[in-house]
C-alpha cells in the first residue's frame, strides 16, 4: 500500500502547487482586495473630512456674521474649497456678479445663483460617490471569482484521481485545500467591500441631503437680501 502524505500543507506550498488558472485567480483576487481596502481607507478619511468640514462650515455660516467676510475668508485659504463651502462660494460669487449688473430682475439673479450652486453640488456629489461603484462590484463579483478558482482546482484534484486504482483522501486533500484558498480570499475581499459600500452609500446620502437643505436655506437668505 502506498501512502503518500502531504506533510507540507503550509499556505505557500499550497499556492505553489496550484494550477495556473487557480494561481491567476488568486493574484487577481489579492489585487482587487488590496485596491478595495485602499479605497475603503481613502473613503473613510475623505467622508469623515467632508462631514467635519460641513459641520464647521454650518457653524460658521449660522453664527450670523457678514456673508462677504465669510466669502473672503474662504477665498483666502490656499486650498480649493470643498463640500458645503464650495457650494456657498459658487452661489455667492454668482449672486454678487449678477448684483453688479444692476439691471437684472431679482428672480433672474436667484435663478443664476441656484444654477451655480446646483453645479457645485453635483461636483461635490460626484467626488463623494467616487470609488463606490468599484466597492459594489468587488462585493458582488469577487466571491464568484473565488468560486471559479475553487471549482477549477477541485476539478483538477479529481481528474488526478482517475488514474489511481485505489483512491485515498490524501490524494485529493491538498488539491481541495489549495482550491479552497481561492474562495477564502474571494470572501475576504467581498465581505469588507459590501459592508463599506453600504456604510459609505448611507453617509453620502446623508451628506447630500445636508447639502441640499443648505442650498435651499441659502437661497432664501439671498432672496431676502436682494
Amino acid at each position: 500500500m502506498t501512502v503518500s502524505v502531504a506533510n507540507d500543507m503550509s499556505i505557500f506550498s499550497l499556492v505553489a502547487g496550484a494550477s495556473l488558472p487557480v494561481q491567476l485567480v488568486l493574484v487577481v483576487l489579492i489585487l482587487t482586495s488590496l485596491f478595495s481596502w485602499w479605497y475603503i481607507f481613502i473613503k473613510l478619511a475623505t467622508i469623515k473630512r467632508a462631514e467635519s468640514s460641513a459641520e464647521e462650515f454650518e457653524a460658521a455660516f449660522w453664527a450670523g456674521g457678514d456673508l462677504n467676510k465669510l466669502f473672503d475668508s474662504l477665498g483666502a485659504g490656499r486650498r480649493k474649497t470643498q463640500g458645503m463651502a464650495s457650494i456657498f462660494e459658487a452661489g455667492f460669487k454668482e449672486y454678487v456678479r449678477h448684483k453688479q449688473q444692476s439691471r437684472m430682475e431679482v428672480s433672474d439673479v436667484m435663478e443664476g445663483a441656484r444654477r451655480a450652486m446646483r453645479a457645485a453640488y453635483n461636483r461635490e456629489l460626484d467626488n463623494l460617490d467616487a470609488h463606490l461603484p468599484f466597492l459594489a462590484s468587488v462585493g458582488s463579483v469577487s466571491p464568484y471569482i473565488g468560486l471559479f478558482g475553487t471549482v477549477w482546482g477541485i476539478m483538477n484534484a479529481f481528474r488526478g484521481l482517475s488514474n489511481v486504482a485505489q483512491a485515498t483522501l490524501s490524494q485529493v486533500a491538498p488539491g481541495i485545500a489549495e482550491a479552497l484558498v481561492a474562495t477564502a480570499i474571494g470572501l475576504f475581499a467581498a465581505i469588507p467591500a459590501v459592508i463599506a459600500y453600504n456604510r459609505f452609500a448611507s453617509s453620502v446620502d446623508r451628506l447630500s441631503v445636508r447639502y441640499e437643505s443648505f442650498m435651499e436655506e441659502f437661497t432664501n437668505i439671498l432672496q431676502r437680501k436682494s
Binding site: 500500500m1 501512502v3 500543507m9 503550509s10 499556505i11 481596502w37 481613502i42 480649493k80 470643498q82 490524501s170
Partner: protein, 280 residues
C-alpha cells in the same frame, strides 16, 4: 485617474493601512495552517482495518482451538436494575421541587400572619390554628422526606448490588479469558503457524528445491486480513537461489495467509519469522 485630486493627501496612509490588513490576513492564514500540518496520518490505515475483519476460513477440525467461554451469557443478567433505578431517581427531584415550593409558601404565610398579629388580637385563634396546620404539613413533609430517603437508600443498595454483580461477571469473564488465552496462545500460534506453512507448501514448486530438504527462514509482516504489508524478507537461504525464489513466490501466491481473528493472538503474527522446509 485611480484616485481624485482631493484624495491624494490621504492615499498614502490608506495604502499603508490596506497593506497592513492584508499582512494580518496572511499571518492568520500562516498560523492556522501551521497548526494543521502536524497531525500524523500514517497510523489511520492500520487502526481502521481492525474493525472490518473479513470472516476467515473456519479453523481446521484436526486440532480444535481451546474456545474461550462466551462471556455474553453471564453479562446479560445485570442490565435491568439500572433502568428501574433511573426511573425512580427521576421522580425524586420533582418531589424535592414541590417540597421547596410548599416550604416557601409556608414561610410567606408565616410572615404575613406575624404582621397580622400586631394588628389584630382577634385573629390569634385563627393564627394558632393555621400554625398548627402548618406544623402538621411540615411534619407530613418531613415524613415524606424520610420515606424518600429510605427509597433512595434502597435504590442505592440495588444499584450497588447490580454493579457488584456486573463487576463479578466481568471479572469472571476476564479471568476465564486470561486463563484460556495463556493456555491457548502458544497452541493457537503453533496451530496457525502450521496452517500457514501448509498453505505455502501447497504452492511451492518442489522440483526447484533439492531433495535434501533445506531449511529457509523468512520474515513476513502481516496485516490482520492475512495480507502481507511488503515482500517477504529472506533471513536464511537454502543455498539454492532457484529454491529461495520458488518459496518466495509461493508465499506471495498463498495470500491471504490464515491468521487468528483474535487481536491478542494476532499480535504474534504482525512480524512473523517463518521457518520452512519445502520437502517435509
Amino acid at each position: 485617474m485611480m484616485i481624485r485630486a482631493y484624495e491624494k493627501d490621504v492615499s498614502w496612509q490608506a495604502g499603508v493601512w490596506a497593506i497592513g490588513v492584508h499582512l494580518l490576513l496572511l499571518a492568520a492564514l500562516l498560523l492556522s495552517f501551521n497548526w494543521k500540518a502536524t497531525p500524523p496520518m500514517l497510523n489511520v490505515a492500520e487502526v481502521e482495518l481492525w474493525d472490518s475483519l473479513p470472516a476467515l476460513e473456519p479453523p481446521l477440525p484436526v486440532t480444535p482451538p481451546v474456545e474461550t467461554p462466551p462471556p455474553a451469557v453471564v453479562k446479560e443478567a445485570p442490565p435491568p436494575p439500572p433502568e428501574k433505578v433511573e426511573a425512580q431517581a427521576a421522580k425524586a427531584p420533582e418531589v424535592d421541587i414541590a417540597l421547596e415550593k410548599k416550604r416557601k409558601e409556608l414561610e410567606q404565610k408565616k410572615a404575613a400572619e406575624q404582621l397580622k398579629k400586631e394588628l389584630a388580637l382577634a385573629q390569634k385563634k385563627q393564627l394558632a390554628a393555621l400554625q398548627a396546620e402548618a406544623r402538621k404539613e411540615e411534619m407530613q413533609n418531613s415524613d415524606k422526606l424520610l420515606k424518600e430517603n429510605k427509597a433512595n437508600e434502597t435504590l442505592k443498595k440495588l444499584q450497588q448490588e447490580a454493579l457488584a454483580e456486573e463487576r463479578a461477571a466481568t471479572e469472571q469473564a476476564v479471568a476465564s479469558d486470561k486463563s484460556a488465552k495463556s493456555a491457548a496462545s502458544t497452541g493457537v500460534v503453533d496451530e496457525y503457524r502450521s496452517k500457514i506453512q501448509a498453505k505455502i507448501r501447497g504452492n511451492v514448486n518442489k522440483s526447484l528445491c533439492a531433495t535434501a530438504n533445506p531449511e529457509l527462514k523468512f520474515d513476513i509482516a502481516l496485516l490482520p486480513t492475512g495480507e502481507m504489508t511488503g515482500l517477504p524478507k529472506l533471513l536464511k537461504s537454502s543455498g539454492n537461489k532457484a529454491c529461495d525464489e520458488a518459496v518466495e513466490r509461493a508465499i506471495m501466491a498463498s495470500q491471504p495467509l490464515p491468521v487468528p481473528t483474535d487481536g491478542l493472538a494476532f499480535s504474534q503474527f504482525r512480524n512473523l519469522k517463518l521457518t520452512f522446509r519445502p520437502n517435509d
